[in-house]
Structure formats: C-alpha cells, structure tokens
C-alpha cells in the first residue's frame, strides 16, 4: 500500500484508480489531505473553512458502499475543495465578504448537489476576492491567499484559494468561478490547470452572483484529464438555471485522451501576444507554439481587432450587473448588521448604510458605484448600451477567427505572480491581468489554461490559454491534453514538481 503521506501527490485520475483497485480507501485519502491542510493552510490561507467531519463522513460512506459492491461514480471518494462562492447547505458561505460572515445557506448550489451525488468528499470552502472582484485574492475580507510557489506572492484571483489549494496538494480538485478569468489566471500563476466551460455549460444555481451574464463555474485541477473528470461531474443542464444549455455535457474526458494534433488548425490571436507580456511569459508561449507545430498542428495568425475594447466593455458590464446583484445585501434579512455609531435610534436606511459600509470592501464599493452610475438613465446608452455593442463585435471577431482556426491560443496572463501589495493601490494595473481572459467571458466561449513552464527571470509558472467556439469544449480539452503531454515529456515531469515545498509556519495557540 502506498504511504498515505504520498497520496496527495497523485492526480485525481490516479486517486480514482487507486480507490477502485483497493490500494487505499477514501478515508485515508481524505485524511491525508486534511492533515496537509492542517499543516499548511495557516501559511497559505487557501481555505476559509475546513469541514473535516463532513468530508470524512462522506469518505467513510463511500468506502462502505464500495465495500458493499455498489457501482459508484469514478470520482467517488476523491476529495474536492469548493470556492466559497457556491452555497453549501449547513456550511457557512461568505463569498469572501464580511457582509456574509457566518451566513449558513439553507440550500446547496446545483454543482454542490452534483458533487455530493457523485460521492466526492468536500474538504471545505476556499478563499477568494470578495464577491469574486479581483485578480489576486488580496480583496478577501479574510486576508490574502499566498502562492505556494512563493508565499510573498499572490495566487491570482479571484479564485486564488482554489488554485493554491490544488497547487499545494491540499486538494486534488477544486471548483472555481470565472467571470473575467478567475479560474484561468490563478491556474496560470500557480502552475495548475483551470477550465471555464461554455457559458451555460455548468449550472450557476446557488452560485453567489457577481455578473450574471459573465459568470461561469468550472474545474481547477493539476492535469487536463483531471479537469475534464470534474467538468463532467458538475456540467450539464439544470432546470433551475434558465441560461443553462439544454444538451448533454460535451465528452471532454474522452477528448482529453486524444494526443493527436495532426491537421488541427491552431490560431494565435495577434492582439493577445507581444507588447505588454513579460519576456518569460512570451518565451514559454513561443516554445509551446513550436511544440504544437512539431506535433503536426497547423499554426495560423488571426486578428481580433475589437479586443482592444474588451477591457473597457467588461468594466462597464461587470459593475452594472454586480451593482444590481449585490443590492440584496441590505442587512435586513441575513448577513452582517451594524448600527451607525452616532445615532440613538437609527432608521432602516441608516442601519443599511452603516452595514454596507462595514460589510463591503473598497473594491466592491468601487464597482457598485461604477455600475450604478453606468446604468443610470442618462448614461445607459453611453455606457452599458455601448458596452453591449462591443460585446457583439467581440463575439463576431471570435466567429471570424474560428473560421480560420479550430482553437485559438494565447498566454493566459501577461505576467507571472506579482508580490502581495504591489498593485492594490492601482486598480487599473490589477485589471490588466485579465486582459487575455476577458474576451472569452464576453463572448461566452470556453477557455482553458494549462502550465507552459516557468519564466526564466523569476522561476514562476506561466500559463497558456486554449479557446474554442461555444459548446465545442472538447476541442480545447483535446488540444490542451496533447500540448500538456508534449510539454511534460519535454520537461520530464509536471511543472509542479519544480515548485518548492511550502514551509509550515508555527501557529501560536
């Protein structure tokens, strides 16, 4: 039997195989992760809440059912971490905000229901930028998450907790949400894999909304195959989400098993390379392109001229929808409630104002104000209306590009992980981190980030993004898996093997 301390280094697929073969059981596997979380989470702050009891109960249940010969889901017994943006019945859910501190949802998000039904022990809830607003997980009300590669650095955002947990072997799989790149950009800067399915491919029911027309739930993992495995668990039509696609989940696992790139047309988006990209990021990207070419892919250059307006459109649509989605946090029915300091018998409005002031962080307030302004009657046409037109143009750019190429590729993020605190005073610099990921959200198409090595200048991981047309998620898994195989062969092992072991900090009682 494998030494339980090594279990956490396995891929989810290998864990599933080991469970099926009886090499270890889910309780051992889950406990190994819980032990590692107990040791390293004080340093990383990847988890906001650890549900050891619940996870172990699920693990024991799965072990018993397996022992009884029951036919189980392939991932049954493989633990998973869930971004704190998904509602979990009976488990506090905060979306990284003080506003929801201590709130316990009375219901499960659809994806959580699906994880439970498939028998994945839920280790806990992962840290995130407040209401998913940010690219560094520094905007969490519960402190920043640290990048396992260098604990002085950010793990990306808003899903930094999920990606850091996967990168540091605290969880083999995690759930993320991607509104403008919050699965893919953290994956890139932590050396992991993250996929944003086609909009509507995974239910949003029970996911605390940031911007409804952009939000997408997806898998965080260490390999493309693992991401596909998790994607198939959570994907598929949900009658509770009217925007969810009424079609079976695309066969992404099957797609991730293909290694053949011959004849695949891979488009390089000229607007998403070159200027503004860190030298080491660009170098790894260029090498990957050569590798794809060497494996038989046809490389074409495509231009998406309207991408230059994507950032502006995104930062009008997102705050507009967010300002409306967040209006419900009024301190009246749930969540944080505080009274104003200087008023003896405050009105409902005064309590609401004081609670919102105390409950929301600066970035959230900034975006609510921006969105409220952009939707105002005199400005709607100039801002929100224009942004929606840009969105249409970006979707058309993609349509034209996909006539020339089966998939599109670019670096996932323009730089490697920056130091914590470096960009908190400069929102615009922070926003630029999502420049390559945002167009996919505006167009609703799927995107995947996989590691493409480490940058020479800082030794930090770099991500490569694969984009496919809407509902053609298999294509990006197929190309991603083929490229991953080629890269791992070239490197002689996964990129995460090059990450330094995280040192546990002593926690005083």
């Amino acid at each position: 039997m494998t030494n339980p301390t090594d279990l956490t280094r396995l891929t989810a697929a290998k864990m599933a195989d080991g469970l099926a073969a009886g090499e270890f059981n889910s309780e051992q596997l889950t406990q190994a992760h819980l032990d590692r979380i107990a040791r390293l989470n004080p340093t990383l702050n990847a988890f906001l809440l650890v549900d050891a009891e619940g996870a172990l109960a699920t693990a024991r249940d799965i072990d018993a059912r397996r022992a009884a010969g029951e036919q189980l889901h392939r991932l049954a017994g493989v633990p998973v971490a869930v971004k704190d943006i998904a509602c979990t019945e009976g488990l506090p859910t905060t979306a990284g905000s003080r506003t929801l501190q201590g709130w316990v949802p009375p219901y499960d998000a659809t994806i959580v229901t699906r994880l439970r039904e498939a028998g994945l022990p839920i280790l806990g809830k992962t840290n995130m930028d407040e209401f998913a607003m940010g690219s560094s997980t520094e905007h969490s009300a519960y402190g920043p998450t640290r990048n396992p590669w260098d604990t002085d650095r950010i793990p990306g955002g808003s899903g930094g907790g999920s990606s850091a947990a996967v990168a540091a072997f605290l969880a083999p799989l995690a759930i993320g949400s991607d509104t403008g790149g919050s699965i893919r950009q953290p994956a890139a800067v932590t050396g992991t894999v993250g996929a944003k399915p086609t909009y509507g491919g995974v239910s949003r029911y029970g996911i605390i909304a940031l911007a409804s027309s952009l939000d997408q739930i997806g898998p965080c993992a260490r390999t493309v195959e693992d991401a596909a495995l998790l994607h198939e668990v959570i994907g598929g039509h949900d009658p509770m989400d009217s925007t969810s696609i009424e079609a079976p989940v695309p066969a992404v696992l099957e797609a991730s098993a293909t290694r053949d790139l011959a004849g695949t047309r891979v488009g390089i988006v000229t607007e998403l390379t070159g200027e503004g990209y860190q030298a080491g990021v660009q170098a790894r990207f260029d090498e990957a392109v050569e590798l794809l070419r060497a494996r038989g892919a046809e490389i074409v250059e495509v231009s998406c001229p309207h991408f230059r307006y994507a950032m502006a459109a995104y930062y009008l649509i997102l705050p507009s929808e967010a300002s409306s989605n967040l209006a419900r946090y009024d301190a009246m029915r749930y969540g944080l409630r505080v009274g104003p300091d200087d008023v003896a018998s405050p009105s409902a409005e005064q309590v609401m104002a004081a609670s919102r002031d105390a409950g929301f962080g600066d970035e959230v307030k900034r975006r609510i104000i921006l969105g409220t302004y952009a939707l105002s009657s005199g400005y709607y046409d100039a801002y929100y209306g224009q942004a929606q037109k840009v969105r249409t143009l970006i979707a058309r750019d993609f349509e034209a590009a996909f006539e020339q190429a089966d998939v599109l590729i670019s670096p996932t993020a323009p730089t490697t992980a920056f130091k914590i605190g470096d960009k908190t005073e400069d929102p615009m610099a922070m926003y630029l981190n999502d420049i390559a990921t945002i167009p996919a959200n505006l167009a609703g198409i799927p995107g995947l980030s996989l590691p493409s090595g480490v940058a020479d200048e800082d030794g930090l991981p770099v991500g490569l993004q694969v984009l496919a047309p809407a509902t053609q998620d298999q294509r990006m898994y197929a190309v991603g898996a083929a490229l991953e195989a080629a890269l791992v062969e070239q490197w002689g092992g996964p990129v995460l093997d090059r990450a330094p072991e995280v040192e546990a900090t002593e926690v005083s009682a």
């Binding site: 949003r204 029970g206 009217s242 925007t243 929808e321 300002s323 029915r333 749930y334 939707l375 009657s377």
Partner: protein, 512 residues
C-alpha cells in the same frame, strides 16, 4: 395621528365647464397560476406568513429565476383578448429600487419589451354607448411581499414600532395592463374609468386567468388623472386634441370599481381647484381613502425616476412561436359584447332590462343564478331589484353582499314550488342578508310557509264571506273586482301565509 382632510375642491360640473380630463389607467392583475412567476412555490391565498417561500422568491444569494410557462401563456391570452400584438421575442428587465418587502431589491419586470402591445378594449357605458379604450401594453412582472406595520396609530410605516414582512406574495405573477391616454371622455371620465376596470375584470374572469377579487388585491388600479383647458363643447374634437396634456397625478392601488370612479372624480375636482387658484399640479403619487372619499399626497414622482433598468441576464428571452400564439387565440372565450347579445337573447330580456342588468354589474351573477336553476326573469328581478338597491346603499358590489347565485336559485325554487309568496320571499332574503343562513333555513326558522292545508283556508274564506254580506252581494251582482277586499281579509286571517291566487279562486268558486 394623520388625518385625511379634503383639500380645496371645485364642484364637478363646474370643473368640467373649464377643463377636459385625461386619464391613464394601470391595472395590476394577479394571475391564478398554481406556482409563482419564477419559482415553484405555491400561490394559495391566506397561508401562514412565509410558508410559501424558497431561496428564489426570498432572493437568497445564488438563487436564480426560471420563468413560469403558464404565466407567459396567460399573459399572451390576456394580450390577445385585448386585441394586442404579441411580441415575437421579448425579454425581462430588472427594475432596480429599494423596497423593504422586495427580497432582491430589484423587481423582475418587463421594460421596453412587453409581451403584448397596441390593443384596445371596447367598454359599454350605462346608456349603452360604447367607448374604446386603447391599450398601450400588457407586461409580465412579479409581485412584492407584504408589510404589516405594527405599533403605530395609522397602520402606516411612520410611527410604527416595528414591521413584519410576509414573502408569500413575493414572486406571484402579475400582469400590468397600461392604457394609452384616455381622451374624449369629457364629463364621463369617472364613469369610463369604472366601466373600463369593470370590463377588464369581466374579461379576465372569462379568461379564467385570475381570481379577479379586487378586495383581495387580485386586481389593483392606479389611476392617472390630468386636466387640460377646454377648447369647446366637444371633448372629442380635433381642436381639443391639440391642447397639451396637463401634469398628472397617480392615485395608487384603488381596489373597488366604485372607488375608481370616486377617486377619478375627486382628483378632477381637486386639480380644478388648484388650477383655478393659479397653482400648478405637483406630479406625485396619491393615496385614496375609502372612508373619507379623498386622496392625500404620497411621494413626488418625476419622469426621471431612475430604476436603472437593464435586461435580466439570468433569464433567456421569451419567444412564443406564432403557431403557439394561434393555438392560444383559439382558447379565447367569447368576446364579452357578443356574449352579452347572446345572453340577452337566451334570457329574453328587453334592451332596457339588459341595460339595467349591465348597470348593476350583474351579468355574471345572473348567469350563475340561471345555471343554478332560477328562471331568467326571477334572477333579474332579484339581482337588479332588491339586491342592487341594497348594494348601492352600502357602496358595495352586488356580489359582495353575501348572497350567492345558489341562494337566489333556491329562493326562486321556493316561490315556484308555492311554498313562499312574494312578500314572504322578501322576508326570507332579509334573513339571508342578515346572515341567518340559506333561504330554506331562514324560512324554516322564521316559520314562513304558505298554508297548503285547504281546510284551514276554506274555514277562513267562509268566515270572511259570512262577515261581509254587502261585498258578497256586489260580487254576485257581477263586480268581480270587489273580491280584492275579501282576499285582503283572508290573507290577514292567514297572517300572510296563504297563496293569494288560490284564495281568489276559492272565493270566486263559492260566489259565482
């Protein structure tokens, strides 16, 4: 404690000599779907507070709406019945504003893309004139919760110690039907308003899409009123149409037909007083007070009320196929005007009788009464006679008196079976109105029954004949009409509980 004092008003007839009223009516209709607009919660009336709720209608974080397909079909049927165009593709929008009993702090509604638009409803007035009210739009939205303010003297939020919110109503499907400006009604504007809401209510009832109980808030009317100066005697003249509209006020949530008429009339008189005094009308919402018959100022309202509308991103567009729309059109009931003509023929009423029935708002109730077994003549007699008088005196609708069509059919049956005569039937109805029970029950309790025993009747007849030899002489001499005096005496002997026709028959049988 706030009091609702009347502001200065001008007499109605006088106001109309100088001003031409223009109306705009917005009617909210609660649909009778089994589940709410965007979730599967039940919609039953009168349930324990907050027992018909779920994460969706409570607006909990993460919850998402899904459109109730039945509500959409009801909306389309209403649109078709109002002669509207049905949108081939439309969306919901978010109307963002803060309201204590609105869980998401935005209302999911329709803004610039209503499901139905550009229609009309022909409304018959009390003298038979038909007035066409043009419909701007009918759109779908969700209702809010319901607040109860506890501890204050007025039941309003100001002065209350605390407020309770019931979210059972939150998310119930509503259709809002908005008219285009109603011009050309002149002095009949209040009557048109009442008749329009009444006709709409009848239509909705015929469509079976709503319970249409105004007293339960199933149908609520917001009445917009504005005045403009008169250009001549004819309110429908082209010249009058050129005069710009005045500033309007919106009287919210008027919930009976009679109140619609009174509130419109009051606002016309109040506007006239303000304008006569050289003042200008403040654009605002007003509250109607049933007890005092006045409106009071609500909140100021401007055209720039900023609801920050934008298309609801959580819902896919509604795109009914033309085939489905035609299928739904085929389910429409007979148009009310045609139906009225058919019923008049079925019932054999004269034009005048039918108009009385319409003015009493009694078509439906007569139909139900006839269906329950009464003769059309008897049904009309009761509903437009005794009951209409009573309703008028109480300021209520005939259907609100507590007497049902089944009661009237039962009463008519008792008369036709010869158990009651007309005056006894009236006494029985009194008892029913007083809540003493159904007609048979009341007749039994009050001991009202025509004497069927011929023996007792014959004794009484013989006694009266013997006591009135002079009258007997006249009758025998051929003056048959003199029998009336004897009949009256026999009825008195029988304490009213005899069939007058039978008494007459007996008397004449004895004497001729």
């Amino acid at each position: 404690m706030s009091t609702q004092t009347a502001e200065a008003v001008v007499g109605y007839d006088e106001a109309l000599t100088r001003y031409d009223p223009v109306l705009g009516l917005e009617v909210h209709v609660e649909l009778n779907t089994a589940t709410k607009m965007f979730c599967g919660c039940a919609t039953g009336f009168g349930a324990e507070p907050n027992t018909q709720t779920c994460p969706v209608c409570l607006g909990l974080p993460g919850a998402l709406p899904v459109v109730n397909a039945t509500a959409v079909e009801s909306a389309i049927r209403i649109g078709l019945a109002l002669n509207c165009q049905i949108a081939e593709w439309c969306r919901f929008a978010r109307k963002n504003y803060f309201y204590p009993d609105m869980p998401k702090n935005f209302q999911t509604s329709q803004y610039d893309e209503p499901i139905a638009f550009d229609g009309y409803l022909d409304v018959e007035l009390s003298d038979g004139e038909v007035f066409r009210v043009e419909i701007e739009r009918a759109h779908m939205e969700e209702d809010t919760g319901k607040s109860t303010h506890v501890g204050g003297a007025t039941g309003r939020i100001h002065g209350a110690e605390y407020s309770l919110v019931d979210f059972n109503r939150a998310g119930i499907p509503l259709i809002e039907i908005v008219t285009k400006p109603i011009t050309g009604a002149g002095e009949r504007a209040p009557e048109v308003a009442k008749a329009y809401v009444g006709a709409l209510r009848d239509l909705l009832k015929a469509l079976a899409v709503s319970e249409v109980k105004m007293e339960q808030g199933n149908v609520r009317c917001d009445a917009n009123v504005s005045l403009r100066s008169r250009a001549g005697d004819d309110p429908t003249s082209a010249e009058q149409a050129q005069v710009p509209l005045g500033t309007r006020t919106e009287t919210k949530n008027v919930n009976s037909l009679r109140s619609v008429e009174r509130a419109v009339r009051y606002e016309i008189c109040r506007h006239a007083a303000v304008l006569d005094g050289g003042g200008s009308i403040l654009q605002e919402t007003r509250h109607w007070h049933e007890d005092t018959g006045v409106t009071t100022s609500g909140r100021p309202k401007s055209d720039a009320d900023d609801y920050r509308y934008f298309p609801e991103p959580d819902l896919v567009p509604v795109a009914p196929t033309r085939e489905r729309v035609e299928e739904l059109r085929a389910t429409l009931p007979e148009p009310p005007a045609e139906r009225r003509r058919r019923l008049q023929a079925d019932w054999g009423y004269s034009d005048l009788e039918m108009r009385d029935v319409l003015n009493a708002g009694a078509v439906e109730v007569i139909e139900e009464t006839v269906a329950a077994g009464a003769t059309p003549a008897a049904a009309r007699k009761w509903w437009t006679g005794e009951l209409a008088r009573r309703a008028n005196a109480e300021g209520a609708e005939v259907t609100e008196l507590g007497v049902t069509p089944a009661h009237i059919a039962e009463l008519d049956g008792l008369v036709r079976d010869g158990r009651l005569n007309d005056s006894m039937a009236r006494q029985v109805l009194e008892g029913v109105l007083a809540g003493e029970g159904g007609p048979t029950e009341v007749a039994d309790a009050r001991g009202l029954e025509l004497v069927q025993d011929d023996g007792a009747l014959e004794v009484a007849v013989d006694k009266v004949i013997e006591a009135n030899p002079d009258v007997v002489e006249k009758i025998r001499g051929g003056k048959v009409q003199a029998a009336g005096a004897l009949i009256g005496q026999v009825m008195k002997e029988m304490r009213g509980q005899a069939d007058a026709a039978k008494v007459r028959e007996l008397i004449l049988g004895r004497l001729t």
